[in-house]
Structure formats: C-alpha cells, structure tokens
C-alpha cells in the first residue's frame, strides 16, 4: 500500500519562526442568542429562584432533568413539573488539570455528572465539584463515584437564571 500514501509535507515550528510559511488569519465570530424555549426556559427561571426542577412523563413514569417538553422514550409530551432536591450522587467525575487551550491550571477543576435526588435513577446533570481539595492527590482522596453532594448556590441577588447560579456541588 505504500504507493498509495501521498508524501504530504509536514511543517515544523522553525518553518513559522523563520517566516517560510504564509498564513491568513480570521477570527471566527459567531454570535448567537439561543431561545431556551418552554422546558429549559422554566429550568433557568427556577434556578434563579434557587430550585432544581424536572419533568415527569406519565407513561414511562420517568422524572427527567434537564427537563424537556417531550419524552424521548415514549415520543409524547411530558406531563408535569416536579420539584427536585438540590442534593445528589456523583455518577462519575474527573480531575482536570488543563484548560480548553491546553494551558495548565493552578487548581484543578472537578467536573462531575451528578444524579439529582427526586429525578429518576441515573438522571444526572453536568456540573463541577468544589471544596474537595487543591491538588490531584487531595481531590482523588476525597472524591469517589457514589459521593453524596449538595449544591452551593450564588446569593439570590447575584443569580441570573443560568446553570452557573449553582456555583458547584460540595460533599455532604
């Protein structure tokens, strides 16, 4: 198969530093304002009020979070709003030591999928854990799958109806 591999040209850092390669630059500016709609709109409004809510489907009896106006299993509209607790269980977590551009972080972030109490089993949301340590080892010592956690909310006057109205979840 060797004849069918094209000898494409790999560039090295020096090629740029020594000005042998020309590039054009364009910033990618995409500006969007997403309509949150009925389900997520209410979800965000309730966050501002310091509450987590889900939607229940009468047929499969699941309580879903993030909430949606349709049940993807039954393909029918969901029926009722359900007030959830702001506590839950860590389904999985990571200790992330780099930012999106691969810069190293001084203090690692701890993203987690958290199953929310009051929703059906396994219904998690993405958020971060806090008050779990400053270093990899500390965090791995304190956090495990199955850890019970509770939301730490922003003070009411600082909330804006966003997922970040919860600052993080901490162990309970």
């Amino acid at each position: 198969m060797e004849p069918w591999v094209y000898p494409s040209i790999a560039l090295k850092q020096e090629d740029f530093e020594e000005g042998r390669i020309r590039t054009t630059r364009t910033p990618l500016r995409g500006e969007y304002a997403w309509d949150a709609g009925v389900a997520v709109g209410r979800f965000l409004a309730e966050l501002k009020a310091g509450r987590l809510v889900g939607r229940r489907c009468r047929v499969c009896r699941r309580v879903m979070v993030p909430p949606r106006m349709f049940c993807e299993q039954c393909f029918r509209p969901t029926d009722t709003w359900v007030l959830l607790q702001d506590t839950g269980t860590v389904l999985t977590f990571s200790v992330c030591t780099v930012a999106w551009d691969m810069r190293r972080l001084e203090v690692p972030e701890v993203p987690a999928v958290i199953a929310i109490d009051g929703a059906s089993p396994g219904m998690g949301i993405l958020h971060k854990l806090g008050e779990v340590g400053q270093t990899n080892d500390e965090i791995l010592d304190r956090v495990h799958i199955g850890l019970r956690v509770q939301a730490v909310w922003k003070p009411p006057h600082q909330r804006e109806g966003a997922i970040t109205d919860i600052l993080y979840f901490r162990p309970v």
Binding site: Y6, L11, W34, M64, E72, V95, C96, W100, V113
Partner: protein
C-alpha cells in the same frame, strides 16, 4: 429487499501530520488522486462524490463541502456530505455503500479530510461548541471532560486498572511503526511511558490520547459489475449499521456504549454473522483514547462487558493474535484527523484483506474485517463489515 452488492476497489491517503503545508482541498486532492490511481480509474469514471469532514470550526470554514469540493473531484458531480461527528469517517463509507446499493450510482469516490491545525490557539477550541449552549457551555467545559468522565465510569464499574488500559496505547503505537502514514508511531514505547505521561484530566493522561492531525483518506466504491472489471480483488461490503443515542448524555450509563451495540447488531444481521467473535478476523475499532478501543470491543460484542482489556493483556488482540485489533496502529499511532482517521480504518481493512499491508500484514489470510467509529456526545456508533 436488499440493495445491490457494493465493493471497495481502491484506497489512498495522505501522511497524517501535526501540521501540513497543504490546504484542506489540497489534502483532499492528494488522497482522492491516490485512491483513483490505486485502481487505475479516472475522475470521469466517477458518478458521485461523498465527502466527510468533522466539525467545521477546525477549518474555520462554513459550508465545508463546497470548500473541499474542488480538491475532492466533486466539481460538477452530485456531492453530499454526511455528518455524525467522530463517526463520520466510517459513516462516509456507509454513505458510499447506500449511494450504490440503492441503484442510483455505479461508482462513488469517498473522501474524508481534516485540517485541525488551522484552529488557534488549539484545535480543542472547536470542541467547546459541542456542549449544550444553555445548560452546559456556561460551565466552561472542555472536550477532555467527557472522555475523562466516561473513562472513570468505565474503569470504576469493572475495576479496571490504568495499566490494563495503557496497554492499548502501547500496542497501537507499536503497530503503527509499520505504517508509512503514521504520525506517532513508537516501536519502543512501554507501558511505563504511558503511565508516567502528564495527567491532563484524570484518569486521562497525555499518552492515553491520540494526537490532533492534518490528513485525508479516500476510497473508491463500485457496483458489482464495475468492481469485477476494475480489480480481481474487490473487497465487498457485507454489513453496515449506524445508531445515534440520546443527546442527554448525563442521563446515560456511560460505562457501556449501547449505540455501538445497536449499530453492530444491524451490521451483523445484514452480513449474516451469528458468532462475531469467530467470524470477524480483523477489528479496527475507534481508538481516539486507549480505553475507547476496549469500550468499543465490548459494544461490538467481541468481548464480554468489562473483559476487553483481557484481550490486550493476553495478546489475543496483537497482530499475530487470534483476533487482531487495530493492526493499522489506529488513531493513537497513525494519527487522528477525525473523519480521515475513520476512513483510514476502512482503507486498512481493504489493504489487509487483499494481502497488501506490508509489514503490518495480519498473518493467516484474513477474510473478513470490521471497522467502527464513534462520535458526538459519546453518542453515535458507525460500523462497516467488509470481506473478500
């Protein structure tokens, strides 16, 4: 009411490199022209073009199918770009299949291209936009998060060690040593190297991850009557399947890829395969991260749940083992220009089944292989089974 028989008759690719001098359309041309050359066909013998490319944000180009079309030989031809994130490379071959099996076309050129290096400061930037804009993106997530979350769920559920998983990276980077297009081949890599590499997002470390790459791959597909004229060794498409799971990934059991199983079951049914562990001779599962190869082998029903690591530990998955897994070197070794890497896996099966894989050749004259890719929010499985 099955469609017409379809064969792969030619394949070509570029070298996979960290940063290529070539533009995206130029890379597409390099792979497409090599694929045509390999089966001594010319562009005017091609009825339609299928293009594959993953997120547009890499190239920073909107409507990327048109941008790539001149290089991919698509000028004036029916051209279409299917898209299932990281699953696109294998899916492009599936699209080529349905173009021909439907009776609509006799010959199709399938081209997959990715130029990730155009994206600054880092290609990961493009992936920030895969998360839900309202409920997730404000948390500032990055792509590594979801892999790390999935890997941790998988390891914890089955009690797997980092060492078991790291053996996949070692196997694939060593396998890639014989691949003329490879970017990260390393014949001398050890499991300690992987375990000692920088922690990015625990449990994910630097050498658990495939690199970002520029590159392209292409195959030529043809209906039976054309295929038999073009080559005496057509590689037949025996089964295809694809499946997309719920977008609510935080509501799913991340320890098992149900979507891969759904896709595999469709492909096995179409190919008439009842015992995949005996009937599949070579596997090229998607391996952007080492644990993903194991995860996917389980979804493909080629290993029991939680047991895929044993195939690697015991050597069953080695090139000369009973079920060679990723003899190409995969994304971990050859490189990961997303869609092109998926199609490279299909091309590898083409070369292996024809006995043309050189120093990577799997012994014992394998007759049937499976390639699989995966993508989106850990959500889509694409599977193709080919045989000779």
């Amino acid at each position: 009411m099955a469609g017409r028989r379809v064969a792969i008759v030619g394949a070509g690719m570029t070298k996979f490199v960290r940063r290529a001098l070539e533009t995206g359309p130029e890379l597409a041309w390099e792979a497409a022209s090599k694929a045509l050359e390999s089966c001594e066909m010319t562009l005017d013998q091609i009825d339609a073009v299928v293009l594959g490319s993953a997120p547009d944000a890499f190239d920073g180009v909107h409507m990327k199918v048109e941008y790539l079309s001149p290089g991919a030989g698509a000028w004036g031809k029916p051209t279409i770009r299917g898209f299932v994130g990281g699953g696109t490379g294998v899916f492009a071959a599936i699209q080529g299949w349905y173009h021909i099996a439907s009776g609509m076309f006799d010959t199709v050129l399938v081209v997959c291209e990715e130029k990730m290096s155009s994206c600054h400061p880092h290609p990961q930037a493009a992936f920030n936009y895969i998360f839900d804009p309202t409920t997730e993106r404000p948390l500032g997530p990055n792509l590594l998060w979801i892999f790390a979350l999935e890997m941790n769920a998988y390891m914890t559920k089955y009690g797997l060690t980092k060492r078991d998983i790291a053996l996949v990276a070692v196997k694939n980077k060593r396998n890639a040593a014989g691949h003329p297009a490879a970017q990260l081949a390393d014949p001398d890599i050890t499991v300690e190297d992987v375990l000692n590499s920088e922690v990015l997002a625990w449990p994910v470390q630097r050498l658990d991850v495939s690199p970002t790459s520029d590159g392209a791959a292409a195959i030529v597909m043809a209906a039976e009557h054309v295929a038999r004229r073009v080559t005496n060794k057509p590689v037949w498409v025996e089964g295809v399947g694809w499946s997309l799971d719920t977008q609510y990934w935080t509501n799913r059991d991340l320890s098992y890829p149900t979507y891969v199983e759904e896709a595999a079951r469709k492909a096995y049914a179409m190919a008439g395969i009842r015992e995949p562990r005996k009937e599949i001779h070579i596997v090229e599962p998607y391996d952007p991260f080492d644990y993903k190869e194991l995860h996917h082998l389980e979804g493909l029903l080629l290993a029991d749940r939680g047991k895929a690591a044993e195939l690697v530990v015991l050597g069953t998955a080695n090139r000369d083992g009973d079920m060679p897994v990723t003899p190409s070197g995969g994304l971990l070794g050859v490189g990961n220009p997303i869609s092109a890497a998926g199609l490279m896996k299909v091309a590898e099966l083409f070369w292996q089944l024809r006995g043309e894989a050189g120093s990577r050749q799997v012994p014992g004259q394998p007759k049937r292989g499976l390639a699989q890719a995966w993508g989106d929010l850990m959500q889509v499985g694409t599977v193709i089974i080919v045989g000779i």
